[in-house]
Point group: C2
Chain length 414, copies 2
């Protein structure tokens, strides 16, 4: 009966109350459904303990997610700065709801697929913070004409020309952020070059286009170790952005300003209160990398990859686990004494190497005691980079303490 | 009219003949559908030139796929050895059809998700060549009871015990391959240890279980450079496997034998004709890694990631492209003079580094001539490891020369 109740709870989760009621009334339907469940879902139980999951599986601790989101939200409410959370780490509706405290407004995305996904699910005020790709101008125009507020970003005069060539219908304006490179060294027009001011002016003056804001990503915080270094980069990025805003003001131009990265937004400097917005994303999950940088403690990390021991190799003093790069990604290679991840609760274990579906685990020192790790033993990997690990999973299993409470399905592609 | 015909062709591809016919009859429906297509699919045109694709996009050259598959099929037909192609690289129905020459029989998979996907699509004689995970025994039992032939693999007595605890219904047998480690150093019972023979005997003697074959993966060919080294490993793996078969024979046990890896199966040694089966997989796509090993030439590689220039960084002598690790994977780090990939037709370009959605490209020597790479320029990346790159894409765009001819949707998860 207990088994039946579990299955019914799972069925309810899968197919809604209706089917579950039907099964209460009809034993044959129930048996058929049981078979379908076994074949289609195997051991990915809903409602059960996380130990019932087939592995590898990405699990998300809902309480940590909520706590990480709440801290960031309250931090910027206190500072009087608009938090525009980035969706690129998780790409799910449920997590976006938590990060926007249910408003479904004011988010950043890294791909057009995310923009469409969130737009289709009732989100508004979406900033596609990616140097507007020429092949996607038409889709961006369609979104700008469809949503109350859709915003794009650029860092080159040629991109501005592309937007001008496609004026929006019904008197709508292209809402454009200009990306400024304040030392990160990736996209953006360099803050120190006269071209940066010229481009901002050109955006401001262009017909059918509005200069919405200046956007800087301080990804160079990822080279930091400790709060002091993070805050030095946060200060530099903020100062350079605010100086640029002053230059614009001198030209009679006012618009918003935004900087972001999880390290800087986890440890803001005072001057960040003078910005209009911040746009961190990874903080909702965090990861080992963020704990090494100093953005968070390892206890704040909300995700794990569950894996099981599938092989003993005493002649190599190794274990095999059922998580390879297909379940973890190769991010973090060579960066941790524990290899590609941290094995939660097993500080002497190192994830030495991975192939597609296998991981080789060995002790950092000494001989493995195989009696502690019989085949089937579940281990929990704390990912080095949660964005990269989440990207490998078509489903995230959400839990509260040890109970499964839901499944999240991310969007993928571009 | 031409545009309309293109859209209808695309609609037909997307929704089948029925919807296309409906649209012929109903202009309003057509207009609505057009809008849906624009919003949902944006610029991922079907039937158009590959230059019409939004980037990043994984494109598959159907003619190279067919040629690679045909060569492998004919090679083993001539040798009189059963080819059991591995699905792990592509995980699609269409490519499986090509690799099995339409028979939909005799394949290898690396995950249970693949096994279910192929079983649900009418494939038979599926070998789940992965040390049978204890959490998936029940699902494997269900597949064994449902298909004409489903086979599993193991390398530990405890796994055999798990199978014995779950006898199959209707007098069916567990079809079990024993994995032998012939020097690869990953899964498998070590060929030189007495345990290997003991385990094979135990499988053979177990009630409800059949010892179907001995399976060795010569992944150590991936350390080779050139045909001579590949064939040395192929010879060693074959010899050790055949010696093991002799030991079994001396105990009165006969069963099949199989070795595999794309390098060894691309350059078989004569003794491989004495094996029952081979099980390569990557060969259908190949990649830069395989060309470096010597399995193929760079011209044989059937996949590219299309990407576009989205940024100019003259102060760093770099380009930015719209392909980061989300579109390519991080596999191959530090292994090529051209960085994470080969930029097709641009031997002086190096893919220096990637973040989630950005790639930094610089010249191997000299100054970049930006006039050659205006924003929007399409580049084609030849992946270092096609298994890892394909794993990042929810859709593969299939082309014949420069025309798109279809889309393939891989299965994901475990």
């Amino acid at each position: 009966m207990l088994l039946m109740t579990n299955w019914l709870r799972f069925a309810e989760c899968l197919c809604g109350h209706f089917l579950s009621q039907l099964m209460h009334d009809n034993l044959i339907t129930y048996i058929v459904f049981l078979w379908v469940c076994v074949c289609a879902e195997c051991c990915h139980h809903g409602g059960g303990p996380i130990s019932s999951l087939c592995t590898p599986a990405l699990v998300v601790d809902i309480n940590k997610v909520k706590s990480n989101a709440k801290k960031m939200t309250e931090r910027y409410k206190e500072l009087g700065v608009q938090l525009r959370p980035h969706m690129k780490t998780h790409k799910t509706i449920e997590c976006a709801d938590i990060m926007t405290t249910g408003s479904r407004r004011c988010i950043v995305v890294s791909t057009l697929a995310e923009a469409l996904f969130y737009a289709d699910n009732g989100f508004e005020d979406i900033l596609y913070a990616y140097s507007v790709p020429f092949d996607k101008v038409e889709c961006c125009a369609a979104l700008s004409e469809r949503l109350d507020l859709f915003q794009v970003l650029l860092d080159h005069p040629d991109a501005l020309e592309q937007l001008k060539k496609r004026p929006l219908r019904d008197g709508r304006l292209w809402h454009v952020w200009m990306k400024l490179d304040c030392g990160n060294g990736r996209a953006g027009v360099l803050h120190s070059q006269p071209e940066s001011l010229k481009l901002a002016q050109a955006i401001d003056e262009a017909e059918g286009v509005e200069l919405t804001g200046i956007y800087a990503h301080c990804g160079n915080t990822y080279n930091c170790r400790g709060v002091e270094q993070i805050q030095a980069v946060a200060q530099e990025t903020t100062t350079l952005t605010l100086e640029f805003m002053e230059k614009l003001k001198a030209e009679g131009i006012t618009c918003k300003s935004s900087i972001g990265s999880t390290p800087s937004c986890s440890h803001p400097v005072k001057d960040m209160a003078r910005l209009s917005e911040v746009h961190p994303g990874n903080y909702v999950f965090y990861d080992v990398q963020q704990s090494v940088i100093g953005s968070c403690s390892l206890e704040d990390v909300a995700v794990r990859v569950l894996t099981r021991v599938i092989g003993h190799c005493p002649h190599r003093n190794q274990l095999l686990i059922d998580c390879g790069w297909a379940g973890l990604s190769l991010d973090g290679a060579g960066k941790l004494p524990t290899g590609y991840a941290v094995v939660d609760g097993h500080p002497n274990l190192k994830l030495l190497s991975m192939t597609q579906e296998h991981g080789r685990v060995e002790p950092i020192s000494g001989k493995l005691d195989y009696s502690k790790y019989p085949l089937g033993t579940m281990l929990k990997l704390i990912p080095y980079h949660s964005c990269a690990t989440a990207a490998m999973h078509p489903t995230y299993y959400v839990h509260s303490e040890d109970r499964l409470v839901g499944k999240w399905t991310p969007t993928r592609g571009w």
